[in-house]
């Protein structure tokens, strides 16, 4: 009877080993994974429907989208590698707000340079921490130039050559839950705190770029529109104590702009609004999502500077430079503008 226990155990181990072996054989362990499986639908840039921001004090909401179901993401087709040499891997650490932009440009870049771009996306502060610990990275795209600069001055890390600069900008906007259940039409509404109309807001933590930009914008709004001695003071007093009232309505602080969009997009009656990047608005319009947006006037908006740098420990300096130069080139900048950056 004892042998039977051992037999079962061995059988389980053999089955597990067989499954693992099959999947390994099927190529899961291969580093040269040419498919970058992304969920983003392949989009034509002409689908962008970005509204121009209104310069007046009370911004009007962007027109609502019809409640169309989110499209099934199509498979990114596998680029055929040049038969001459295997593609080299380029490791890109990108802020989460850049992730879908990168996903849409890697295919062309991969083909042109015979490489395979591997993207690690997350919040810029986390990425900087990983690079500082020596995790291999060839290009670092940060949503706040503060983090690329921090990496530059970190002992034992630093930049390769002089490849550390700003490459684009991004500003903030307000995202509203699908259907706009609380009827938000202006920035002042976000500070409403009375009874059933109390707005529930989700923002990012101040330790991450979009969160710190949000904080700056809120302070600007309070000082510009809510301060009676300011020339732009809004006379009906709706922006007095805006910062405090807004913070009272914040129900959750998250780690990335992605998560804020996700929280508002979830549409379960918890989050009514959030502060995200303008690039998120552009992407949501591209993907025909049902969320709505309110733009924040440039006079109080925070234009965040994005930084790009090549970490000193890169193993693909030539390829990294090509990527770096591409983003700074006219073609790269035009593509960035299409995705809502560089405002």
């Amino acid at each position: 009877m004892n042998n039977k226990y051992i037999t079962i155990l061995l059988a389980v181990i053999i089955i597990v080993a067989a499954v693992v072996g099959y999947l390994a054989y099927a190529g899961t362990f291969s580093g040269n994974n040419n498919t970058t499986p992304t969920p983003t639908p392949t989009l034509t840039p002409s689908q962008t429907a970005s509204p121009t921001p209104t310069p007046t004090a009370s911004p009007s909401p962007t027109p609502t989208h019809t409640a169309s179901p989110t499209p099934t993401p199509s498979l990114t087709p596998t680029p055929t590698p040049t038969p001459s040499s295997p593609p080299t891997t380029l490791t890109v650490f990108a802020a989460s707000s850049m992730a879908n932009f990168i996903a849409n440009m890697t295919q062309a870049f991969d083909k042109q340079y015979n490489c395979n771009i591997v993207v690690n996306s997350g919040s810029s502060s986390t990425l900087e921490g990983q690079i500082a610990q020596g995790v291999p990275c060839d290009v670092f795209l940060s949503a706040d130039i503060k983090w690329t600069n921090t990496l530059n001055t970190t002992a034992g890390a630093g930049t390769y050559g002089n490849f550390n600069t700003n490459f684009t900008t991004n500003k903030l906007c307000v995202i509203i839950a699908p259907g706009n259940p609380k009827g938000i039409t202006a920035l002042a509404d976000l500070a409403t705190a009375t009874g059933a109309n109390k707005i529930h807001i989700v923002i990012a933590q101040t330790t991450v770029p979009v969160g710190s930009y949000t904080n700056t914008t809120l302070t600007k709004i309070t000082n510009t529109w809510g301060n009676s001695s300011s020339p732009s003071y809004v006379t009906n007093g709706s922006y007095v104590n805006y910062y405090t009232n807004f913070q009272n309505n914040v129900i959750n602080t998250l780690q990335t702009d992605e998560q804020v969009v996700g929280a508002v997009n979830l549409n379960v009656g918890v989050a009514d609004a959030g502060i995200v990047f303008y690039s998120d608005e552009v992407y949501a319009n591209m993907a025909q999502q049902t969320v709505q947006f309110i733009s924040i006037p440039d006079s109080v908006n925070t234009i965040g500077t994005y930084g790009i740098c090549i970490p000193s420990e890169t193993t693909q300096s030539a390829l990294a430079q090509a990527f770096y130069n591409y983003l700074l080139s006219a073609q790269g900048q035009a593509l960035l503008t299409e995705f809502g950056f560089g405002s």
Binding site: N100, T126, V135
Partner: protein, 272 residues
């Protein structure tokens, strides 16, 4: 299942209260799961399941959690036996230390692993010399999952070995000189139910691991993006895909757990 007819009123009341508690607890666990299922449409499931991103995430999760469970088994079971059967100074402290990963917030566990295995970390430079860079690879995912999940197997194995009748083991040792043979023919089979239950918990915990994987292994599609990471990603790009992935995760986990349970009952049912 009800015991023989209760005589006094207080017995009946207790039975009713317990029944209510059982129903409440059962609903508490199953209703949220039902809520997720109600959000999707069956046609969408078959459409989403063909998405390359989802298939990658599923494969990755299954492989890494299986390997993590096996590694946890190899490491934790002998260690549990050692801790239970030996007495040495500092045993309690070491025992408690081994339980730490359970209380550690996953993000903290991830940072700890990063500080250890990254090329600039404590042990990282050693690996670096041989050309191995761990963070950002499949190995990192396995390490992260093993780190947070193996304590479950350790604890269960300890309980299994503790509840063993020492007399049986001692008699076996007298009859057969080989320790290994005694372990495999007497000790291990006697505690196998606890070990299997611990292995199931370990596997489940590894499947659901998110924070440590994100911090230590990174969020790289196809290489380190397990199902929990993918769900978080998808909730932004495509909420429907995210929810569908949650449903798939639930179905896969449930299927594997119930198969193991049935096998265990079939084998050891007679022992009841």
């Amino acid at each position: 299942m009800k015991q023989s007819f209760a005589n006094s009123i207080s017995d009946k009341i207790i039975i009713i209260i317990i029944a209510l508690i059982v129903i409440t607890y059962f609903l508490f666990i199953t209703v949220p799961i039902l809520a997720v299922f109600l959000k999707i449409e069956p046609s969408q499931v078959s459409a989403q399941i063909r998405n390359a991103g989802i298939i990658e995430a599923i494969k990755l999760s299954l492989i890494t959690s299986a390997i993590a469970t096996v590694i946890a088994f190899v490491l934790a079971v002998p260690s549990a036996y050692f801790i239970v059967t030996r007495n040495f100074p500092g045993k309690t402290i070491i025992d408690t230390l081994m339980d730490l990963p359970i209380v550690l917030p996953p993000a903290v566990a991830g940072v700890a692993l990063l500080y250890t295995f990254a090329p600039k970390g404590l042990l990282g430079p050693i690996f670096n010399k041989f050309g191995y860079i761990i963070p950002g690879s499949l190995i990192a995912v396995i390490i992260a999952e093993t780190f947070v999940a193996s304590p479950f197997l350790f604890r269960s194995a300890k309980v299994g070995f503790e509840n063993m009748d020492r007399d049986i083991v001692n008699s076996a040792k007298m009859l057969s000189g080989s320790r290994l043979r005694v372990f495999f023919t007497v000790t291990f089979p006697l505690s196998i139910r606890a070990i299997i239950s611990g292995a199931m918990m370990t596997w489940a915990r590894a499947m659901g691991e998110f924070g440590a994987t994100l911090m230590f292994a990174g969020n790289i599609a196809g290489i380190t993006q397990t199902m929990p990471l993918a769900i978080y990603n998808f909730l932004y790009y495509d909420p429907l895909a995210g929810i569908t992935l949650s449903v798939i995760l639930i179905i896969i986990s449930f299927s594997i757990l119930i198969i193991v349970k049935l096998l265990e009952q079939k084998r050891f049912g007679a022992k009841k």
